[in-house]
Amino acid sequence: MATPTSSSPGRPSFLQADATLQRPQVNPVDLRALEYVDSYDHNLMCAICHSPFVYPVRLECEHVFCQRCVNDAMSHQDRDSRVYSITCPSCRRRIENRAITPVPKILSHILDDLRVKCPLECLGCPEVKARGDIQDHVNKYCAYAEVKCPSESCLLTVLRKDLDEQRCLHSVMKCEDCESSFMERDLEIHRSRHCEVGKASCPDCNAQVLLRDLEGHIECCPDANFPCNAAEYGCDFVAIRETLDEHLKMCPLAKLVPFLRMQNERLEAHEAALKHLRHKNSILETSLSTIQETLSPSANLIDAPSSSAADSDTGPFDSTAHHLLCLHESLREEVNRVSAAVSEVDAKASMMVMNESLRIKEDLSHANAVIGSMRMQLHWLMSARLQNQQRVAIVRAQSSGDGLGSSTDAGGSSGSVELPVRRLSDSTRQDTKL
């Protein structure tokens, strides 16, 4: 990094450069801004945003819109009206139930399969992907997506394709032609697309053109030489555009080009199929040889005592293999049977446990009820006894009061006695008052 004093004059210019190299927003990818490669069914278009549905939802009236478009429509209607109901943006039917239902999965799949260009196409990414995969592509694979600079001390980002350089591309450099400063990573783009000074000469007509216009110039340069269409099939004629047109009318190879191309394609398809088959074959061969390896020692063991001469023969091997396979099969059946039996026993046991526990639970509740009734009885008995005791106490007190004949004591004692009496039932209280 340069010192602050020397970098300050250069700084605005590479900030400017950043503004000119405008990057589309890719995190998350705006699915509405994508360029769709093929034309799609107009029924897949949201009536509100006029793009293929993005996260479609269905309203009560069965019209389908993007989730976000419905939300926008609802918020706009909420702002306008005081009533708590909205109308469908397509049929104006009142929608009482704001709950939106998801759309059938098949619609989402059709939408996810639409082919789109990578949103970083403007930076050079040529990929065309299914819409459902485009976020993945940008996040993980796109060579033109921004990732952290490999240099640990640098906090800026680089394009994924520049990661291979394994160094920081953020040092400031000067464009050779226009003298403005750029970070190294932006220099190439600046020179090939934006620089207003840098010139190069056309390889054909020797005219000086701006570097950024070179590509366009070569395409329409009148002096540019083009090879014959059949160059790849052996015609080495090279000429400027006009003569080339005449040549193409005469050249027998050029006429064969479509046919040859088709043949080539077929050949390639066959080769690919052949390669695939070869691969499959090799896998099968290796698995066969492993089977042979596992089988042949035992075959030797079995065969050795009976016939040592038939070692190299395939006859005994075949029978042993067959025997082993049969054995294996019967063992497998046995295991299956045992496992079935085990599971049956398991089910029976768990059933039994459940039945038992149910019974015990019933017993328990029964016992609980009995205990409860006993407790009630005990309570009743206790209270009856208490009452009895109290009544006896009162009677005794009254009799003692009569004996003494002092009014103060009687008042005090009757006051002290009345208190517990109140707790008893009404009839007993009446009794005491009398």
């Binding site: 509100i48 945003c49 006029h50 793009s51 976000r68 926008d72 706009h76 397509s90 104006r92």
Partner: protein, 152 residues
């Protein structure tokens, strides 16, 4: 979102223009103001004239309806006779507008209205009455205005 939809509708209309209509943007920077040139439809008193219309799309488009106005004076029961030239289109009223309606539909509707005025839905009562009661006079006046204001 509004911006994207407007750009899309604009490019669609440029690719497949409506019959007798030319659409342009007075200012490249503002996609919300469109200028439309409509040829007076054949068989109507406006035949031979070219009318300039102004379509203004609100920022809330497509949730709010656009407004359509005649910049060229026109003798028509559904167009106000002032310097605003506001046009009364049923589908452009706030309570009848649907976000799924397209500008293409608005423009074809406007064109249909030139062919057949709707005096029951008029903004210029006098012209509407004349259209209903004295059609000959109406046609004469409309032709005269077309000649005077909407010359090619």
């Amino acid at each position: 979102m509004a911006q994207k939809r407007i750009v899309k509708e604009y490019s669609e209309l440029q690719k497949k223009p409506l019959d007798g209509m030319r659409i342009s943007l007075p200012s490249e920077a503002d996609m919300h103001q469109w200028q439309i040139l409509i040829d007076g439809p054949k068989g109507s008193p406006y035949e031979g004239g070219v009318f300039t219309l102004h379509l203004s799309l609100p920022t809330e488009y497509p949730f709010k309806p656009p407004t359509l106005s005649f910049k060229t004076k026109i003798y028509h029961p559904n167009v106000t006779n002032d310097d605003k030239g506001s046009m009364c289109l049923g589908m452009l009223r706030a309570d009848e507008w649907k976000p799924s309606s397209k500008i293409e539909a608005v423009l074809s509707f406007a064109k249909a209205l030139l062919l057949e005025p709707q005096p029951d839905d008029a903004v210029e009562g006098g012209i509407a009455r004349e259209y209903k009661e004295n059609k000959k006079e109406f046609i004469k006046n409309a032709k005269a205005w077309t000649k005077q204001y909407a010359k090619k």
